[in-house]
Subunit: 131 residues, 2 copies
DNA sequence: TGCTAAGTTCGACTCCACTCGTACAAGTAC
DNA sequence: GTACTTGTACGAGTGGAGTCGAACTTAGCA
């Protein structure tokens, strides 16, 4: 199943309509690229767990988005929902609903345009204790 | 008065001894450059007031450090102490005691070495409502 | 029809950051 | 000495963020 419009994947608020490959579900609500605030992004990235999420997406995702479970994070689902939403609402990631799964990807183009170099810092980051 | 060692300006913990112009008071306790953590720095910079402080230091300081009052921040002194300490303990700024005054400067070299491009983002930042 | 899996929502809890007033310490100037 | 100034220390109040369990929703499948 793809693309039908439900309450869960309604069009994102404030997102410019952009041509996309057909069949993709609409992104979940997210700030428009111009509305992404540096202080909000820095706050979202100041959490080690979220920093790890974004870094893993940058380094290991093969040009497609990934589900919550792909990250192998040892936390309850309600905690993961909280962090993935924080990243999305800050404008760091984009989430799409594929059936039951909610897949995430980093908004690389938007972030590089507004804050050049920031994602490089995240990619070069090393967690406090191993990976 | 300069340079005599009191409780208030004891040598910084974990700071490598580095040749400096004589007569400078020792820096207040701060993390060594190698111990500066990205997530801590991002957390320190996620506050608009602190972002404003660092940005003003980057853009308007004429190659010397500045006192608390130079920033013209309309907050009680105890609040400013809190924020300047947060910046220093995160490794973003260095503070030195000159008599009564405590002057701050950005650790430009250390931050550019560890997180290249980060200070450029801060300098390019624009506050939510005017300057 | 019913089961299972992915993820949300809600409420509760804890903890920390921000804010500020007040009191205090330390130089500086008279 | 006294007064003034810069800034800290401490404590309290407030709000928000992180954590989690439990109940719920939805899609896919047998």
């Amino acid at each position: 199943m793809t693309g039908q419009r439900t309450e869960a994947n309604r069009p994102a608020v404030g997102v410019e309509e952009r041509p996309e490959p057909p069949g993709l579900p609409d992104p979940l609500p997210e700030p428009a690229a111009a509305d992404i605030r540096l202080e909000t992004v820095l706050g979202a990235l100041s959490d080690p767990l979220r920093l790890r999420i974004v870094r893993k997406l940058l380094l290991e995702s093969e040009e497609f988005d990934h589900t919550c479970g792909w990250f192998g994070l040892d936390r309850p689902k309600s905690s993961l929902t909280h962090h993935f939403r924080a990243l999305r609402e800050a404008g760091v990631t984009r989430q799409r609903q594929y059936g039951l799964e909610r897949r995430s990807q980093v908004r690389v183009a938007d972030l590089n345009a507004r804050f050049p170099g920031l994602l490089d810092l995240v990619a070069a980051w090393t967690p406090p204790d191993g990976d």
